[in-house]
Symmetry: C2
Amino acid sequence: MSDDVPDLAFDETDRLPAIAQDADSGEVLMLAYVTPEAVERTRETGRAHYYSRSREELWEKGATSGHVQHVREIRVDCDGDTLLYLVDQEGGACHTGYESCFYRTIDGEVVGEQVFDPEAVYDE
Amino acid sequence: MSDDVPDLAFDETDRLPAIAQDADSGEVLMLAYVTPEAVERTRETGRAHYYSRSREELWEKGATSGHVQHVREIRVDCDGDTLLYLVDQEGGACHTGYESCFYRTIDGEVVGEQVFDPEAVYDE
């Protein structure tokens, strides 16, 4: 390919933020962090992988809930320090049951749509 | 208002990432970082403010270029550690002249639209 492949500017902890956006509706679903390994696994499998900062481990979105993200395209920003995953989301992206993690305004008004019951998905 | 106002979970450096999304087209335009002061100034003025990590200062998007972002709504994610600005973007969001900073795929294919000439905007 003749295009220049963008350099990725991971930070000093080898991470950068990745935004997941629904490829069809354009809804911004979530933001999480990725390591080089998470990006590699995402490209290999076609399913979104992230790095959990609290659990300190590679994490496949939906591995527990079944709410995987099929990645259609990965974009890089101008500085190479943020990724954008364009995805087909199974179920909902948010562990609260909402389609998007951004289901509230800064004033607390709920503007998102709840698409599953989190107790039914995670409580077993 | 009866809704619970979400707590914002700024990190140890008092920052968190904010995604700017075009309120009409749904295009993800950029990601930058905000401090409590940047959020406050954004709410007061209705124009997107961020914190420049390289210049270490509060920054109004478009103050130099004129490419300001009129903020229609601010959303908060489930953990309170990321914001989503829904904006009307004047000109283009990216300093390269593209409408969005995410104008390339991870393989370097240019998929975005150039909407202004950066030399005409910044070279004076």
